[in-house]
């Protein structure tokens, strides 16, 4: 069955420090991978997506993610975190099960300390 695992429930980093949020997926076919961000009281906003080609994809707000097929991973990174990056981050995989649904991980809540 298709699934997405985000092993870290929450992460705290200092402002200006680098960030890596982990994501592993399980899907038998070519994965279509996404990272979304959710600020309190808001819907989910797309940060970046991977379909094919270059395994390092750039997103908005300085985020990037690297697809590693051998590890079934799609980790999100940012070289220098800003206080405004504090939010919940969801990794997701698009699956073709008839309804073209997207399956989400449980999310990682990012806290940024001054």
């Amino acid at each position: 069955a298709q699934s997405v695992t985000q092993p870290d429930i929450h992460i705290t980093v200092s402002e200006g420090a680098s960030l890596e949020l982990r994501c592993n997926y399980s899907y038998g076919a070519t994965p279509y991978l996404f990272w979304y961000v959710q600020s309190p009281g808001q819907g989910l906003q797309l940060l970046l997506k991977y379909f094919s080609g270059d395994t390092l994809v750039q997103g908005v707000k300085g985020f990037e993610a690297e697809f590693k097929r051998s590890q079934s991973s799609f980790n999100l990174r940012k070289p220098s975190v800003h206080w405004s990056d504090a939010a919940e981050y969801f990794c997701a995989v698009g699956v073709n099960t008839g309804g073209f649904k997207t399956i989400f991980g449980a999310g990682t809540r990012l806290f940024v300390k001054a």
């Binding site: 996404f34 819907g43 989910l44 797309l46 309804g99 449980a106």
Partner: protein, 115 residues
Amino acid sequence: EPEVTQTPSHQVTQMGQEVILRCVPISNHLYFYWYRQILGQKVEFLVSFYNNEISEKSEIFDDQFSVERPDGSNFTLKIRSTKLEDSAMYFCASRALAAYNSPLHFGNGTRLTVT
């Protein structure tokens, strides 16, 4: 930039009552979805809707749930007889293409509280 809009932002209802959550997807989008997020938990798929019919639904989407696109713009989720465990944030989403590599565009959600 066009966006998905949901109303109301917060709905409080008593157990056993019917609720209708409303969504206006982005106008040229083809696929419509409802997801829910119980407080502190993951975002769960409920149902997808395409060409005026349900294309897929999860095990959560039982007979108490229904969806409808009553006109060319609105997309509604009805819960016939609410239960306490239906309390959650409900997100509507739409996508432009009938393809699973097309990203979802989400509304800001409706927080449903069942008392």
